[in-house]
């Protein structure tokens, strides 16, 4: 399946990428597994798996790590928000 990934703020700067489309193995089917899958890319990506602070949104709603990932989803990772 193919998903769209977005990264924001300090995470975007740390990774050096703001967004990408990637093909996922079928067994990467929830947010926790997606974090581990991306963390395997290298050191700067490990924060996705190991930081408890980094938030995830699936299709523009903030979600927990147990949330399922489906083909065509828009999935974003970002630090705690600081607007207002």
């Amino acid at each position: 399946m193919t998903i769209k990934l977005l990264y924001f703020a300090s995470l975007r700067e740390a990774l050096g990428v703001s967004g990408e489309e990637i093909a996922l193995p079928q067994d990467v089917d929830d947010v926790a597994k997606l974090r581990a899958h991306l963390a395997a890319r290298g050191e700067s990506w490990q924060v996705l798996e190991h930081s408890k602070k980094l938030r995830a949104a699936v299709n523009q709603s903030m979600v927990g790590n147990e949330t399922r990932v489906k083909d065509g989803d828009e999935i974003a990772f970002f630090p705690p928000v600081t607007g207002g």
Partner: protein, 155 residues
């Protein structure tokens, strides 16, 4: 006279005018007794020597998150109108960042809903502040106090 609830959310670069928004929400209506509002501004702390602040956001999700927060407030209190404006992009010290206006029959619900919306906006709306100072750029850390402020509404 049935209550007409209008909820409007804007995410924009342009400044906003509080009087104009107040008029838009309450003008021509005679059922609104109370309008509570909040304006958040770019602060320059003495030790930061802030030259500017840039607000990044997540287009699409931002509006969705703000609308959800407003809808939650409307379920919790009987409101007669809500207006939320949040700016993004480059702002200077003293510039207004956010406006929340809540109109109701009485002040208790207007104040509570305005504070509720701000508390959730602070922890749920995807905005991130980066401060530019002579020493370089710095992403603002989330405050534990904001998580605590959101948590108290669960009671």
């Amino acid at each position: 006279m049935p209550a007409v609830v209008s909820a409007q959310v804007s995410v924009q670069q342009e400044p906003f005018d509080v009087s104009a928004e107040l008029k838009a929400i309450a003008g021509g209506r005679h059922d609104i007794g109370a309008v509570a509002s909040f304006v958040g501004l770019v602060r320059d702390l003495a030790d930061a020597k802030l030259s500017s602040m840039t607000l990044e956001h997540y287009p699409g999700m931002t509006e969705k998150a703000l609308i959800e927060i407003v809808e939650q407030a409307k379920q919790r209190w009987e409101l007669l109108g809500v207006r939320v404006i949040h700016r993004y992009g480059r702002l200077a010290p003293g510039d207004a960042i956010v406006l929340v206006l809540v109109a109701g029959s009485h002040r208790g619900e207007a104040f509570a809903a305005c504070e509720f919306i701000m508390d959730f906006l602070k922890t749920r709306a995807p905005f991130w502040k980066k401060e530019e100072t002579p020493a370089g750029g710095r992403w603002v850390d989330a405050r534990d106090a904001d998580d605590a402020a959101t948590a108290r509404w669960k009671a």
